[in-house]
């Protein structure tokens, strides 16, 4: 069966420090991968999505970047964190060209101090 792993679960980082959040999917091939941010416990903002290795689409210009070095690995990064980067980051995957919805990871709570 397919599973999605996201880590770390919580992270406290100082302003100006770098960031690396990792997401991996098991049990499937060529998934579509997504990074969302949820601020203030409500709305979900799509940050990046990827339909294949090295293919990244950015939805919102900001202080973050994403990479997909392997088929089932999706990384969210920043060179210098801002206070406004605080939030709950969710990774999700979907089977390529399927009618199924997303499967979400358990999320990373990032607090920038």
């Amino acid at each position: 069966s397919q599973t999605i792993h996201q880590w770390p679960a919580t992270l406290v980082q100082p302003v100006g420090s770098p960031l690396s959040l990792e997401c991996t999917v098991e049990g499937t091939s060529n998934p579509n991968l997504y990074w969302y941010r949820q601020a203030a416990g409500r709305g979900l903002q799509l940050l990046f999505y990827s339909v294949g290795i090295g293919q990244i689409s950015s939805e919102v210009p900001q202080n973050l970047s994403a990479s997909r070095p392997q088929d089932r690995q999706f990384i969210l990064s920043s060179k210098k964190l801002l206070l406004s980067d605080s939030g709950f980051y969710l990774c999700a995957w979907r089977l390529y060209r399927s009618n199924y919805g997303y499967t979400f990871g358990s999320g990373t709570r990032l607090t920038v101090v």
Partner: protein, 116 residues
């Protein structure tokens, strides 16, 4: 542009009563619609989806949703609410535009509170 609206920030229901969480959508073409639930500090869990077929869709945990094309709505329902149903609920529509990666567009969420 495709969008989803959840007009209620919060819905309060007594345990045992029926519940409805509202969702309306705006898409070009036939919509692919989804409902997700989120418990505190957790990822989103899939409840149900409408792609085509019967307008009444049954999902997990006794939830169901009714697709109404004329009213462009996809309301989530449950005949008898449980305290454990208290959570944040999201409606979503798939962006069917070309080269959009099948991304989902989410509503702002509705906080459901079920009191004993």
């Amino acid at each position: 542009a495709q969008s989803v609206a959840q007009p209620e920030d919060q819905v309060n229901v007594a345990e045992g009563n029926p519940l409805t969480v509202k969702c309306t959508y705006s898409v070009s073409g036939n919509p692919y619609l989804f409902w997700y639930v989120q418990y505190p500090n957790r990822g989103l869990q899939f409840l149900l989806k409408y792609i085509t077929g019967d307008n009444l869709v049954k999902g997990s945990y006794g939830f169901e949703a009714e697709f109404n094309k004329s009213q462009t709505s996809f309301h989530l329902k449950k005949p008898s609410a449980l305290v454990s149903d208290s959570a944040l609920y999201f409606c979503a529509v798939r962006d069917m535009g070309r080269n959009q990666g099948g991304k989902l567009i989410f509503g702002q969420g509705t906080e459901l509170s079920v009191k004993p």
